[in-house]
């Protein structure tokens, strides 16, 4: 063989061996405790993404390693450390909960690896603690309630009652809503949260009735969501005070609510950055295949997780599978050059998506299942409130 041919073959072999080195993605989510229902949705979506990609980003094989945070920050941090130190992952993604993310982010970022959050969006990560290697495929926590406050303004609602659990995310949701809502907040209850969370809202609902509020705004994630909706209906308030919620009514809680026939959920309104009915090709494929494979609609948790894998894959493909140069990978991530299920978006200076937020309503689909659909776009290309605090 001629020297040039040998060189070509050598080059081809070299690139082939680099390109065929598996890129590893660590995915931290909740797989135990009652919150595992969210983790399962994310796990399903991640696996579906891998299926759609054929397990590869271009010609580079991808591998996802799941880890359980047990809904505790120190367990999540330990799981993150294990992914970094034992499994030697190149990317760390996932994180449902703000406190788990905040506990784990230092380990990932200090090690110079990329951290992609697919749900948690606490304000420090969007502001003071923003980092060049940190990206989000979700939103910043405050944006969703801010959008809902705007919705109530447009509807001309003059008074609202606010209920949320008493922890950081709960307070953020209440604060986000109050930031944009122009009416009067006639009552606010931050209920006990934690392992022994308060699930019986009889006292607070009685206060809602007494306050004569025109609308009620709530944030009750997890098991508290269905509990609240049931009691809201049982108290009779569902007939007089319309319900506006964030992160409470979603495709995870709706099947349970439908099973127990709590009609109060139907017709209630919520805001989100994604909906199963969003009209773009990637979303149609995602939702259809998810329904076929797992029965039932995916939730926004799943959509965000699906996008995280797609984002990472797009970056790995852009650098030809060579993740050794972080600057190139970062540029590829920042370009967000992939078909997101929420439609095209760009990254702001703090690496949070500049994206739309939609008003959604709970309806029955053609098969009678309870799900959501988009009513209107509330925010177009919205930048979160903490971007200015980020020094990038």
């Amino acid at each position: 063989m001629k020297v040039s041919q040998i060189a070509l073959v050598a080059a081809a072999l070299a690139t082939a061996s680099v390109a065929s080195a598996t890129v590893k993605i660590g995915f931290v989510t909740t797989l135990t405790t009652p919150a595992a229902i969210i983790g399962k949705d994310m796990e399903n979506s991640v696996n579906l993404a891998m299926e759609h990609l054929g397990g590869k980003a271009g010609s580079t094989p991808l591998q996802v390693i799941f880890a359980d945070d047990g809904f505790k920050p120190d367990v999540g941090k330990q799981a993150t450390d294990r992914l970094l130190k034992q499994d030697n992952v190149d990317f760390v993604a996932g994180y449902i909960w703000s406190h788990v993310l905040l506990a784990s982010q230092k380990s990932v970022l200090d090690a110079g690896k990329f951290l992609i959050t697919s749900n948690a969006g606490p304000s420090p990560m969007a502001g003071k603690l923003c980092n060049k290697n940190f990206f989000s495929t979700a939103g910043q926590n405050d944006q969703t309630p801010m959008a809902l406050g705007e919705v109530l303004n447009k509807k001309g609602v003059k008074s609202a009652y606010v209920m949320a659990p008493n922890y950081a995310a709960g307070k953020d949701m209440a604060a986000g809503f109050e930031r944009t809502f122009k009416g009067k907040v006639v009552g606010k209850d931050l209920t006990k949260w934690g392992a022994d969370a308060q699930l019986d809202f009889s006292a607070e609902l009685a206060k809602v009735r007494a306050s004569n509020a025109e609308a009620i705004f709530v944030f009750y994630p997890g098991a508290a969501g269905p509990a609240f909706i049931k009691q809201y209906e049982q108290s009779g308030l569902s007939k007089t005070v319309p319900l506006y919620s964030v992160f409470t009514v979603d495709s995870l809680s709706l099947p349970r609510l439908q099973k127990a026939n709590f009609q109060a959920a139907v017709g209630s309104r919520t805001t989100q950055l994604w909906d199963p009915t969003l009209d773009n090709a990637a979303n149609k494929r995602y939702v259809a295949d998810y329904k076929k494979k797992f029965g039932g609609y995916p939730s926004y948790y799943g959509a965000q997780a699906y996008d995280a894998i797609m984002l990472i894959a797009s970056a790995v493909k852009a650098v030809g599978g060579d993740v050794s140069n972080p600057d190139k990978v970062r540029a590829a991530l920042k370009a967000a050059n992939y078909e997101s299920v929420r439609g095209k978006y760009t990254y702001g200076n703090n690496h949070f998506p500049i994206q739309n937020f939609y008003l959604r309503e709970v309806v029955k689909d053609s098969e009678g299942n309870w799900t959501t659909k988009v009513v209107e776009t509330v925010y177009t290309n919205h930048v979160d409130a903490y971007a200015a605090e980020c020094k990038m």
């Binding site: 797989l31 135990t32 359980d68 505790k72 920050p73 120190d74 941090k77 330990q78 450390d81 294990r82 130190k85 034992q86 703000s98 406190h99 905040l102 506990a103 982010q105 230092k106 380990s107 606490p122 420090p124 003071k128 603690l129 008493n166 922890y167 950081a168 995310a169 307070k171 949260w193 934690g194 392992a195």
Partner: protein, 327 residues
């Protein structure tokens, strides 16, 4: 060497050598596990002092771990984000962290101990738990320090001659601390103070008749144990670089208690065995299944049912029966 000294030395030697060996052999994760193990063993040893030897079953001991950790986190937070420039508290100086942590733990233990030690038995258990829960709820509501989001500790404590960012040096500090704590514990338990304490656990009337004011002895022991746990908290903060109120709620106090009981109460190396068993079994089992708590719970039940003195008895470390004899 007696059998118990032999096994104690073996366990401690293994802790000295194995994690570092694995670290240099390219398995750094085990050093993390070992660090966590040693830190919790220190906290469990402090609990063993009052629970095992002193008979005071405190269900709120994790509060001191938390206080010690926040005593690192809060000054570091202010040194970066400003505020609290009084008394030089906005700093990364390790001595300040240590001093603050020990002081706060001592004060909290003094006040809550003075109230709690007036009760006995299950009432003491519940009231110690109540105090730590009150602290937990109080910390959740202070949003400046993260509330239940927790506090990321951006830089580690600065101590002369030590760079705690280096995991090997951090582990060395933790391990040496464990040795010192165990040595101190043996000294105190065998001293007159320790004898009075143990006597008060077994037969309080007789000890009182001998002219000792049990309340004073128990309160001093309670405060000392709190301070040692606070020191463990200082180490924990430097290890995880994060603290949240959740790390000090009653379930965490329960875990400390379980480590002590599992390892064998009133046995010097018991807490180390208990912490090791807890953490290693949890780590290994969780590799196999996400439902690891089922076999873990079964194991706990079997150990209790078939080994009265916990692991220490299973290793036949306490020939004279649980709770008696020299450590």
């Amino acid at each position: 060497m007696t059998r118990s000294n032999w096994i104690t030395t073996l366990v401690l030697a293994a802790l000295a050598v194995v994690p570092l060996g694995l670290y240099y052999a390219g398995q750094p994760f085990w050093l993390d596990i070992a660090s966590r193990l040693v830190i919790l063993a220190i906290a469990a040893a402090s609990l063993n002092f009052i629970l095992g030897y002193g008979g005071m079953v405190s269900f709120g001991h994790a509060a001191y771990l938390g206080l010690g950790a926040y005593a690192v986190g809060i000054p570091v937070h202010h040194s970066i984000f400003g505020g609290l420039d009084v008394l030089g508290l906005a700093t990364s100086n390790g001595w300040v962290h240590l001093g603050l942590g020990l002081l706060v733990c001592a004060v909290f233990a003094l006040i809550t101990g003075a109230v709690s030690l007036r009760t006995k038995g299950v009432y003491f258990i519940m009231i110690t738990m109540a105090f730590s829960q009150m602290l937990y709820y109080a910390l959740i509501s202070i949003s400046t320090y993260g509330g239940d989001d927790g506090l990321t500790i951006m830089s580690r404590s600065e101590l002369p001659g030590l760079a705690l960012d280096d995991p090997v040096q951090l582990y060395a500090l933790c391990f040496v601390s464990l040795l010192v704590v165990l040595a101190l514990l043996r000294m105190v338990v065998n001293s007159r103070f320790g004898q009075v304490l143990q006597g008060a656990r077994g037969n309080p009337q007789r000890v009182t008749m001998l002219g000792f004011n049990i309340f004073h002895y128990q309160l001093v022991a309670y405060v000392l144990a709190a301070m040692v746990a606070g020191y463990a908290g200082f180490l924990l903060a430097n290890f995880t670089a994060y603290i949240s109120p959740e790390m000090m709620d009653w379930t965490r106090s329960g875990e400390l208690m379980f480590m002590v009981i599992l390892g064998g109460v009133a046995v010097l190396v018991g807490p180390v065995l208990g912490a090791a068993a807890f953490i290693l079994v949890e780590e290994l089992l969780s590799h196999f299944t996400v439902y690891w708590q089922l076999p873990f719970g079964l194991m706990l039940m079997l150990v209790v049912l078939y080994s009265k003195g916990g692991l220490a008895q299973w290793l036949r470390l306490n020939q004279s029966g649980p709770g008696g004899g020299k450590p």
